[in-house]
Symmetry: C2
Subunit: 456 residues, 2 copies
C-alpha cells in the first residue's frame, strides 16, 4: 500500500491532467443545448475505464446515458459499486467567474492549491479520486483486492429521471455488497467524514397567470390583478414570522433530533458565525432558536431558486404583467412524504390566489430523505481507513440531497456509504467552484486505504 | 371646412401610407440597441413637416433628439404648440404578437378596422391625426387659420429626461397660448373627451443583495438569507390586506375626490365588471370599496413591472441567489410630492431588510400629478368642436401619466389641453397594439374642426 500511496504522489501531474480533460467537457445536463457535451463526457469516462482494462460501456437511456464498468477482484472479496455523476450545474452567472468555468486552472492559495472550474468539486473531482485510486492500485499491484463496479449517471443535477428505471433493469449486473458514493464534504479541513443523513427534495416550478394580457399600469393600475404582486405575496406567505415554513402540515412526521445525535453535533467544533461570515452574511435566516447545524442537517427547508416576470430588460416599462414564474424547492427530512409535501404546497398556493388568477405547476425532482443504518458492517473499516490517512475521522449529516441513495436502497437492496473529500467553501453550484488539491490527493490516498481494508 | 373634411375622407389611403411608414421605424427609446432607429424616426418626422412647408428641424439633446417645427398663421390668431412623442415602448414579448410589431397591418373587425403595430396608437397614430389635419387644411385652404408650432420628443417612454432642459432653453421659440396634446383616450367609442386630470409617477428599480455569492440550497438552505425570499417579502409588504399601499405617509396630502366630480363620474356609463372582464379578470385588486374609476383616475397606486433573480433558464438549479431585482412604480395624485414618496418607499424597503442584506435603487421617472384649470378659455371651444364631429363630448380623468404636462406648465407658463381619440382596448404597451381606423379618421376631422374654431 505504501508503494501505491507513493506512486500516487509521484504521478500527480498525470492524474491532474486527466481530471482537467474531464472538466473541459461542459456536461451541463439541465440545458438541452449542452446535450452533445453530456454525451461526450459519458464517452470520455467509459474510455477512461477501458484504459484501466475495465469492461466499460455507455448505456443509452431516454435521458442522458449511463456509464457502467466492471473491474475483477478476488471472488470471495466484497463487491462494491461506486456511484458518481459526470454532469454538472450550469455555469451562469458567467460574469462572476474569475476564470473560464470549463478551462480548469490551478490557483495557489495559502496552505493549498485550488483546482478551479465548473464540476471541479461536484462531482468530477470527487469521482476521479476513486477512479484514480483504482488506477493506481492496478498500476502498482496489477489488480484490485476487491471487486469493483462503476455506475456514472449524467442527470444527477437535473433530477436523475432515468436512474430508477435503469437500476431496475440492470439490477443483476449491478448487484453488490455496498454502494460507495463520493459526493459529500469533509467535516472540516482536517477531518474526513462518513455522511449518515441526507435530506430529500421536492422541486417545483410554478407560473401564475392574471388576466389574459399584459396591461398598462396607468390605465389598469390598482384595479387589475398583477401577476408579480400575486407571486410576491404567494412566495412571502411560504415562511412564517419565525423563519419556519408556513404550509399547513409541512412539519407533520418530522422527528425531534435524538438527544444523542444532538449532543454529538453540539460537540463538533462548528463556528456558527464563521459559517455565515464566510459568505458575507451574519443573521441566521431560518427557524429562530435552532442551531445552524440542526437547520441545515435535520430540519426541512424552503428556498426560492429563481423568479422572473414582466419587463426585465434595460430601461423601464410601466406594464402590469399577466404572468409570473418561480422555481423553488423544499428539502425534506426523515418522516416527510415528498408527495404529501408537494400536494400541501400546491394547495397552499391555490388558496392564496385571487379568484381570477390561476397557477400551473411542474416537477423538478421528488425524493425522500435518507438515514444510514449505523450497524452497516462497512462503516467501521471505512472510518478506520480514513483515520489512517488523516489522523482522525467522524460521521456527520448534510443538508444536501442525493436522491439516488434512496433509489439504490430500493432497487439494489443495499445501503450506501457516503465518503467525500469536499470542503465547505468549494462553491459548488456557484461561480468559481473549486476543489482543493489536498482533497484530490487525500481522496485518492483515502480510497486506496479503504479498498485495501475492505479487501483485507 | 366641409371641403377639408371631405378631402380627408377622399385621401385616406395616402394618410394611412404615411402613418405606416412612421410605424415601420422601430423607435424604441428605452433600449440603446434601437438608438439609430429613434434618430431615423426624428428625421422622418422633420421631413414630414418640411413637406408641409413648415420650418422644421431635428434638435440634438444629450438623449434622443427633439423635432421642432413652425407653421405660420394670422398674427392675431391663437398660437398653439402641439406636443407628441415619436418613440415607442419595446415590443416584447414578441411571441405574443399576431403580426410583426413594426410591420403595420389593417385588420377588419366588426364595425371598424384596426391599424395594428407598436406605436399605432401610442403615440404615432395619435400624433399623425394632428399633423394630417394641418396638412389637409393647407392642401384645401393654402394656410392655417391659427399659428401652429410642433414639439416632438423621443424619450416619452423612457422618462423624458432631456425635455425640461430643452423647454427652458427653447422657451422663447416655443412660446404659445396653449399646448395641445393628443395622447389620451376617448371616454367610450362614441364620446371624445378632454382629459383634465393626470397621475404623476415615481419609477424605481432596486437590487437586493444577500451575502456575496450564490449558495447551494442543500448546504445553506434555512440558515442563509435568500435575496429572492427577501425581495418577495419586501414586495408583498408594499400592499396592505385591503389593497392599499402600506408605505407610511403614502396617502399624506391626498384629497378625497370632490363630491361634484364624484357625482359626474358616477353618472358616466361605466361597466366596472366589463372593464376587467375585457382583459380576463373579474376581481378588483386595489383598495376595497372604491369604484374602479376612482382607483385608476383619482387614487395613487403601486405596481410591480418586472422581477428577476436566480436561475431562470430551462431546468432546475438549487441555488440560493445573492441578488434579486425589481422594477416598480407609483402613480401619484395631486397633493403627493414625488420626492417624498420616493424617500418613503426607500425607507420602507430598508426597514424590511435583514441586517446583513443591502439594497440599491435607481430612478426611472419622477413627476407630480396634474389637474387642469377648468376656466381655461380654450376648453369650451374644443368641447364644442368635438361635439360637432361626434355629436357629443365630455371631460374625464385618466390613470396614466404624461410627465411632460407639468414641465410644460413650469417652463412655458401655459396649460395643456389633452384631446385624444384612443380607445380603451388599444393594448398600448402590450402585444398587438392597435388604433381604430375610426380613431384615425375622427381624430383628423376633429382637429380640423378644433383648429377652425380656435381661428374663428
Amino acid at each position: 500500500m505504501t508503494d501505491t500511496l507513493s506512486h500516487i504522489d509521484a504521478t500527480m501531474d498525470d492524474r491532474l491532467a486527466r481530471l482537467f480533460d474531464f472538466i473541459r467537457i461542459p456536461s451541463v445536463s439541465t440545458d438541452p443545448a449542452f446535450a452533445p457535451d453530456v454525451a461526450r463526457a459519458a464517452e470520455w469516462l467509459a474510455q477512461t475505464l477501458r484504459d484501466m482494462e475495465a469492461d466499460a460501456s455507455v448505456r443509452e437511456t431516454v435521458g442522458h446515458p449511463m456509464v457502467v464498468g466492471h473491474l475483477d477482484g478476488p471472488a470471495d472479496a466484497p463487491h462494491v459499486l461506486f456511484y458518481g455523476h459526470y454532469d454538472v450545474q450550469p455555469a451562469d452567472p458567467l460574469e462572476l467567474w474569475n476564470t473560464e468555468p470549463f478551462e480548469p486552472q490551478l490557483v495557489p492559495v495559502e496552505g493549498d492549491t485550488h483546482i478551479v472550474g465548473r464540476g471541479a468539486s461536484d462531482d468530477k473531482g470527487a469521482l476521479m479520486t476513486f477512479v484514480e485510486a483504482c488506477r493506481a492500485l492496478i498500476e502498482t499491484n496489477g489488480s484490485l483486492p476487491i471487486r469493483v463496479s462503476f455506475l456514472f449517471e449524467g442527470e444527477e443535477e437535473s433530477g436523475s429521471r432515468s436512474l430508477p428505471g435503469f437500476l431496475e433493469k440492470a439490477a443483476d449486473e449491478l448487484a453488490c455488497d455496498v454502494v460507495l458514493v463520493c459526493d459529500t464534504d469533509m467535516w472540516d479541513r482536517e477531518t474526513p467524514a462518513v455522511t449518515t443523513m441526507l435530506r430529500g427534495l421536492v422541486g417545483q416550478q410554478m407560473t401564475i397567470q392574471s388576466g389574459d394580457r399584459d396591461l398598462h399600469s396607468g390605465m389598469f393600475g390598482n384595479a387589475a390583478a398583477n401577476a408579480l404582486t400575486v407571486m410576491s405575496e404567494v412566495l412571502a406567505s411560504l415562511r412564517d414570522a419565525k423563519g419556519g415554513v408556513a404550509i399547513e402540515g409541512f412539519y407533520d412526521g418530522v422527528q425531534e433530533l435524538a438527544e444523542e445525535t444532538a449532543a454529538e453535533w453540539a460537540a463538533l467544533p462548528f463556528d456558527e458565525a464563521g459559517f455565515l461570515e464566510n459568505v458575507g452574511l451574519k443573521v441566521p435566516a431560518g427557524e429562530e432558536g435552532l442551531p445552524v447545524l440542526h437547520q441545515v442537517w435535520a430540519r426541512p427547508s424552503c428556498e426560492i431558486h429563481g423568479v422572473w416576470g414582466g419587463y426585465t430588460e434595460p430601461g423601464f416599462k410601466t406594464v402590469i404583467p399577466c404572468e409570473a414564474h418561480a422555481k423553488l424547492s423544499f428539502r425534506l427530512v426523515a418522516g416527510q412524504d415528498p408527495e404529501k409535501i408537494r400536494t400541501a404546497f400546491q394547495e397552499h398556493v391555490r388558496a392564496k390566489l385571487p379568484a381570477d388568477c390561476s397557477v400551473t405547476f411542474s416537477d423538478h425532482g421528488l425524493s425522500p430523505a435518507w438515514a444510514m443504518d449505523r450497524e452497516n458492517p462497512y462503516l467501521a473499516p471505512t472510518l478506520a481507513a480514513l483515520s489512517d490517512e488523516w489522523g482522525r475521522s467522524t460521521t456527520c449529516g448534510t443538508g444536501g440531497s442525493i436522491p439516488i441513495i434512496g433509489a439504490l436502497r430500493d432497487k439494489l437492496g443495499v445501503d450506501a456509504l457516503l465518503v467525500g473529500f469536499g470542503r465547505f467553501d468549494n462553491r459548488i453550484h456557484s461561480p468559481n467552484e473549486k476543489y482543493d488539491l489536498s482533497s484530490f490527493r487525500g481522496g485518492m490516498r483515502s480510497w486506496v486505504r479503504i479498498i485495501e481494508k475492505l479487501g483485507a
